[in-house]
Symmetry: C2
Subunit: 291 residues, 2 copies
C-alpha cells in the first residue's frame, strides 16, 4: 500500500476536492493505490460524483488510483454544460491537465463513453488505454427511427419513481429476478456514502446532454469510419440486453475500432458492470496491466 493519505480512502470516505481550469471549478474525488497510471471516469446522463458504483471504484482502487469528476455545469462543478460532446471533451482534458497529469487511462460510461471517444480523438497523447461501457459510436443504433434515444430510454426516463433512485433499477438492470436483485444491491451501495454527498444536478443538465446526444446520433459521413483513427487498446463492456444504449452498438465499436476486445454479460442491461462488478474489476485489471 502507498503511504499517501489518499490511498487509504474509499469511495465512501474520500473527500471531494476542487481544481480550476478553463474558468471552471471542477469537483472531483481521487484515491487508490499509487504507482500506475490513474484511471479517469466520464459519467453517464444526469449522473454526479455519487452515481458511480462504490464496488467498482474501490475494487479498481486496490490496484491503481481512480479519479471521478463532475464535468462543467454538473452538480458541484461550476460552468455551463456544453451542448456537444466535443465541448465536454475539451473541458475534461482541461481538468486532467489541471491535475498535472501527462497521461491517464480513460473510462467512459454511456454518454461518458462518447465523451471519452472524443477525448481520444482530440488528445491521443493524453490517453494510454480506453474502456468504453454501455456506449455507442456516432450514428448509433437507437431503434424507433429517432436516431439517438431508444424507445425504452424515453419511457424509463419519462416515468416517476418513489423513491427517486428507483429510476436506476430500470435504467441499469434487467427486469428479471436476478437483475432486480442486483439492482437493489447497487442501490444500497449507491446510498452508502452518507457524509459529503454531491450536490444535485440543475435542470439545465439534461437538455444540454440530450442535445449533445442528438448531434452524436446524427453525425454525417461514412458510418463508423472515424473509429479507425482510435489506435488505443480498448476494452468494450456491456450487458446482452442494454435497452438504454442498444447492445449492438458495442459490436459496432469493436468491429470498427482497430484494437478492441468486447465483453457482454448475461441477463444484464446498461449497468452490467455494476451487476458483475467483481468480474469487471478482474477483467479491467488484466486489460490495464498486461503488456
Amino acid at each position: 500500500m502507498s503511504t499517501s493519505a489518499f490511498a487509504r480512502y474509499s469511495a465512501i470516505t474520500v473527500p471531494t476536492q476542487f481544481v480550476e481550469a478553463n474558468g471552471i471549478r471542477f469537483a472531483y474525488r481521487r484515491w487508490g493505490k499509487e504507482g500506475k497510471l490513474p484511471l479517469a471516469f466520464n459519467q453517464h446522463f444526469t449522473g454526479n460524483l455519487d452515481n458511480w458504483d462504490p464496488a467498482v471504484l474501490d475494487g479498481l482502487a486496490e490496484e491503481r488510483e481512480v479519479i471521478i469528476f463532475n464535468n462543467a455545469g454538473i452538480a458541484s462543478s461550476t460552468g455551463e454544460v456544453p451542448t456537444t460532446f466535443a465541448g465536454m471533451a475539451k473541458n475534461a482534458t482541461a481538468f486532467i491537465a489541471a491535475l498535472g497529469l501527462k497521461q491517464v487511462d480513460l473510462l467512459g460510461f454511456s454518454i461518458g463513453g462518447m465523451v471519452a471517444q472524443q477525448i481520444v480523438i482530440d488528445r491521443p497523447d493524453l490517453i494510454r488505454r480506453l474502456i468504453l461501457v454501455g456506449t455507442a459510436p456516432r450514428n448509433l443504433d437507437a431503434g424507433g427511427g429517432q436516431g439517438y434515444l431508444t424507445p425504452e430510454a424515453q419511457s424509463i426516463f419519462g416515468a416517476a419513481y418513489d423513491p427517486p433512485e428507483n429510476l436506476w433499477l430500470k435504467v441499469m438492470f434487467t427486469d428479471s429476478e436476478l437483475g432486480q436483485a442486483a439492482g437493489r444491491e447497487f442501490l444500497k451501495r449507491y446510498l452508502s456514502r452518507t457524509e459529503d454527498r454531491d450536490a444535485p444536478i440543475s435542470e439545465k443538465v439534461a437538455p444540454a446532454q440530450l442535445a449533445a446526444l442528438a448531434q452524436w446520433g446524427d453525425h454525417p459521413g461514412e458510418r463508423f469510419v472515424y473509429l479507425r483513427d482510435i489506435q488505443k487498446r480498448t476494452l468494450v463492456v456491456n450487458g446482452v440486453h442494454d435497452v438504454i444504449v442498444y447492445t449492438v452498438n458495442s459490436l459496432y465499436l469493436v468491429q470498427n475500432l482497430p484494437n478492441a476486445k468486447l465483453i457482454l454479460y448475461p441477463d444484464a442491461n446498461h449497468g452490467s458492470w455494476y451487476q458483475y462488478n467483481e468480474d469487471f474489476v478482474l477483467e479491467v485489471n488484466r486489460f490495464l496491466d498486461n503488456a
Copy 2:
C-alpha cells in the same frame, strides 16, 4: 498432478484410443489433470483430431481432462457422416456414454458448436456448462442471400493452397500482419505432432457436413426462440471479424440464450481462440471453475 498415465501426456504425445458405440468405432484422445468434469470438444468443418490447437488443449489440460474425438465417418472413426446436426449429436452422446461419463462440460467450434447446441437440447442431463466458439444459432446470418455459407467462406474453401494447410491461415486468421503472424504460429503448433497423426478425411465428409449446415440455416419457426430452452451457463467466444461464421451470430446467441457471456477478440477471425490462446484458457478456467 494426477498419477494417472494419461495426465502426463500432451496434445503431441497422447495416443489415439478407440471405443465402440452405436456400431461406430470412435477415435479419440483423452488426457489432462483428473478430478474435475472432463471437457469434450466438437470439431469444425472437415477437421480431424489434429486440427485442434495444441496450445489451447494443453493449456486447458493443466486444470482438467480434455477429450477430443472424431464423430462418425470422420477420419479414423468408422461409420457414416449424418446429413443433420441432430444425427451428429446422437452419435456424439453415444460416444460420451461409451466412455462411461455421466456428465461433461461441452465445447463446440464452428459447426461443432451447432452440434453442441443440439446435444444440450437433446440431453441436458449430460452437459454441465457449454462453450460455443465461432458458431451460430439456427437461421444464422451468413450474408449473400444463401442462408448458411458466407461469400468469404465459399471463396476461401474454394481456393487451392500450397502447402494445403495454408487454407487455415485464411479460414482462421485476419489478413492483418498480426493475424497472419498468429496464423503461422498456429500452423507450427498444428504440425508439431509428428507421430501417430490422424487419418485424412474422406471425400464424403464435406458434402454431408454442408447438407447439415444448410438445414441448420433454413430452420423454420420463430428465429432463435429455441435458444431459450438452453438453460446451461454458456460462454460464447469469437473474433470481431469472423468471415466464416459472421460475428453477429455470436451476438444473437448471447441475446437469446438465458445465461451466456460473450467475449470477442480484436483483429481476429474464426480462429480467435487460437490467436488468443492464453487469454482463452484463462477465461475458460474462470468460467468452468467459478460457482
